[in-house]
């Protein structure tokens, strides 16, 4: 009997040899960021100005901010190669770093630089990608973000959103008492918060900035002239025009995915409702008509429906309605307050503000599973906006009594403040991919 068993076992083993390779199922993995090393890029110039920014550092910070990567601190590096022939993969394997980015910057004409970089798979021991990017001192940060994007896309398969921008409103108060002044600015900065530029400045509130899908225009609400009106401004030229200035509320503009229409909230008829305006023709089309407040519309990525906030149910909740109108359906059921919804770029999630134990927090909702995931931990978090690749959400939060910008990875694992913020910062919005800056 035992002999038979042996034979069967041997046979099975033999069969396995012949038939199919052994299969091992792996179910448990540490969910986490990918270790990566970005070696500071070497400067190869003996003449001309050294680059004003450390490109490798910018790349590393970008990757780290995404929550998908865990850059190796520079001081932990065993070697600091800048060229392919200097790389010893054993150094990096020893540090258990999956990927390695090295690069060098050399002078490239007057005021110009040539940035070369390589991305390696450490364990495979091979280069995954590498580019030479000509740039200038002014665009060096953008180039660094671009490199971060390439790395990100190469390793995750998703486009990076580092060479994108954020728009936000900041309010700078000056003076005290009766001399108190308030300067409100609409600013645009790199996605990492650097390089902020003011594109609109006003003494009155500015609200609800919205990027056009091509990233060239921003619509916003301005209270200048003591009357809220919706403006559209070209980002690079600064050229702007007033789109609406109806009686009452003119708010919450949102570009349709094709960039031809704007959804907005108007109370011209007495009660805030959602309308869609054909930007070219300036024609309005009502979407909701309800005595409750309907506001904060956002387009689905396919452009066929809108989500908006309404208190028609007694408390602010998210509803969805077809762009052709019709009866809205309620989307959120969990929690007493859900507002400011927007679709993730892939349309699978809704980012929004939800009230949890009296705190307003950023959350995502999967409309199909109704799975609500609270991502932030502040008391008064607001204005969530997805990065164009959906990996992160930028939002405003309160710190030391003023609004600051923060970002959280969509899975909630990485949260961070954006630095270089002046004044009380609110209403950040993430730009779409900026095609003109992707000089690949």
């Amino acid at each position: 009997m035992k002999k038979l068993l042996t034979l069967i076992l041997l046979f099975v083993v033999a069969l396995q040899t012949k038939a199919a390779p052994l299969t091992i199922e792996i179910t448990q993995g540490l969910e986490g960021a990918l270790p990566i090393a970005v070696v500071p890029f070497a400067w190869r110039g003996d003449q001309g100005a050294p680059p004003p920014h450390e490109v490798g550092g910018i790349v590393a910070a970008d990757l780290g901010r995404s929550g998908r990567f865990k850059p190796l601190p520079t001081q932990d590096m065993l070697s600091k190669p800048s060229r392919g022939d200097q790389v010893d993969f054993r150094d990096w394997r020893a540090l258990n770093v999956d990927n390695l980015v090295i690069g060098e910057i050399s002078p490239n004409g007057p005021g110009g630089y040539l940035v070369k970089f390589h991305l390696y798979d450490v364990f495979r021991g091979e280069q995954l990608t590498g580019y030479s990017i000509p740039t200038t001192a002014r665009d060096l940060r953008a180039t660094a973000h671009h490199i971060a994007d390439i790395v990100y896309e190469t390793l995750t398969g998703q486009p990076g959103a580092f060479a994108t921008r954020i728009a936000y409103v900041t309010s700078i108060r000056g003076g005290t008492g009766k001399d108190r002044t308030e300067q409100v600015e609409l600013r645009i900065a790199d996605a990492d918060g650097y390089g902020a530029q003011s594109i609109v400045s006003s003494k009155e509130p500015i609200m609800s900035p919205a990027w056009s899908p091509d990233g060239r225009k921003i619509a916003y609400v301005s209270f200048e002239n003591a009357q809220p009106s919706i403006w559209v401004q070209e980002v690079f030229t600064g050229k702007r025009e007033k789109l609406t200035s109806f009686k009452g509320i003119n708010g919450a503009p949102a570009w349709s995915p094709d960039g031809r229409s704007l959804a907005l909230t108007l109370s011209k008829d007495g009660n805030p409702d959602i309308f869609v305006m054909d930007v070219a023709r300036r024609s309005l089309r009502p979407i909701t008509r309800h005595r409750a407040i309907d506001t904060e519309p956002a387009w689905s990525p396919d452009g066929r429906s809108l989500v908006f906030t309404s208190d028609r149910g007694g408390a602010p909740q998210i509803y969805q309605v077809s762009v052709n109108g019709g009866e809205p359906s309620r989307v959120t059921f969990e929690g007493p307050y859900n507002a400011r919804a927007s679709f993730s770029p892939d349309g699978r999630l809704l980012g929004m503000v939800t009230r949890v134990d009296g705190n307003y927090r950023i959350a995502t909702l999967d409309p199909t599973t109704r799975d609500l995931r609270v991502l932030s931990t502040g008391r008064l978090d607001e204005s969530p906006s997805f990065a164009p690749n959906g990996s992160m959400i930028i939002y405003a939060t309160q710190a030391s009594g003023k609004g600051v910008l923060a970002a959280v990875s969509t899975d909630g694992r990485v949260q961070q403040r954006l630095r270089l913020q002046e004044g009380d910062v609110r209403e950040p919005v993430w730009s779409p991919y900026l095609k003109n800056e992707r000089n690949r």
Binding site: Q16, I26, G29
Partner: protein, 323 residues
């Protein structure tokens, strides 16, 4: 004959002794007769007896006569006188007769003596003749004895020869027997050795067979054990590999529900030679993480057994994150 003799040495000895005794008798019989025959020489018992008898008879006669005389005297004493004359006459007659008798006796004795002397002479002659004869006989005897002696010597010689021959024969026989015995012993020894050898061979064969059987049994057991061992070793190593790969798997967030299959080829010592995604999850980051997990786990644990290790040279990993 010799053998018979040899077998009966006592009889032989007795025979020889008898012969010797006979010879001695032959030789000394004459002497005895000699001693008997001469009358005057020594005390002749026969003659003495004869003489004595006569004497004795005479004496007895005398004594009886005396007695009778005395009785007659006594009786005559009373008649004496009466008879004296008669008696004297009678005695005279008697004496006369006696004288005649004595004369006769003397004559007879002389005759006897002559006859005896003739007889003696005759006897001496006979004796002489007999002596000559004896001498001749003795010579003959001697000759005979010598012949006998010679014969005996011959016999002895022959016997000795025979003895020698016998001894030689015995020696030869003994030698032969010894040789035979030795041969036999040798044969026996050889036989014993052969038997021992055969026995040893048989033992060896038996042992070999036993060893073979045991080896086979052990091999079977080993195979069985190996198979069982293989199964458990395989499970063990698979567990180790799984554990090591899992430890090295950094799964991108939000990838639950994805599945990626990687085919991995390993070197003999478990080094990852090739790791290819054969079934993508559609998520590059996930796919990459999976491949990296395998590469990071390099080298993968391998079974100690070469045979089993061969199985592990080609592996399929299915990455299916559990929620």
């Amino acid at each position: 004959m010799l053998a018979v003799l040899r077998r009966n040495p006592v009889a032989l000895l007795l025979a020889i002794l008898l012969h010797v005794a006979l010879a001695v008798f032959l030789i000394y019989e004459v002497a005895w007769r000699d001693e008997v025959k001469p009358i005057g020489a020594d005390v002749d018992v026969v003659q003495a007896r004869l003489v004595d008898q006569r004497k004795l008879d005479a004496e007895v006669e005398q004594r009886e006569a005396a007695e009778r005389a005395r009785i007659e005297e006594a009786a005559a004493a009373r008649r004496a006188e009466q008879d004296e004359r008669e008696a004297v006459e009678k005695r005279r007659a008697e004496e006369k007769r006696k004288l005649v008798e004595i004369e006769q006796q003397r004559k007879q004795r002389e005759q006897e003596e002559a006859r005896k002397q003739a007889e003696e002479k005759k006897r001496a002659e006979a004796e002489k003749k007999r002596l000559v004869e004896l001498e001749r006989k003795q010579a003959e005897q001697k000759k005979k004895q010598e012949a006998e002696k010679k014969r005996l010597a011959e016999l002895e010689k022959k016997r000795k020869l025979e003895e020698q021959k016998r001894e030689q024969e015995a020696v030869r026989k003994m030698a032969k027997e010894k040789a035979e015995r030795e041969a036999e012993e040798k044969a026996e020894k050889e036989r014993q050795e052969r038997i021992a050898k055969e026995k040893a061979e048989a033992e060896r064969k038996r042992k070999a067979a036993e060893d073979r059987a045991r080896a086979q049994r052990e091999a079977e057991l080993a195979a069985q054990f190996a198979a069982e061992q293989d199964a458990s070793e395989q499970a063990r190593v698979l567990g180790l590999i799984q554990s090591k790969v899992q430890r090295n798997w950094l799964r991108p967030p939000g990838t639950e529900g994805l599945k990626c299959t990687v085919r991995v080829r390993l070197g003999p010592s478990g080094s990852v030679l090739l790791a290819n995604v054969v079934e993508s999850s559609g998520n590059i980051a996930f796919d990459r993480s999976v491949e990296a997990a395998v590469r990071k786990a390099d080298p993968l644990p391998m079974p100690r057994s070469q045979r089993l290790a061969a199985l592990f040279r080609d592996l399929i990993f299915e990455f299916v994150p559990g929620n």
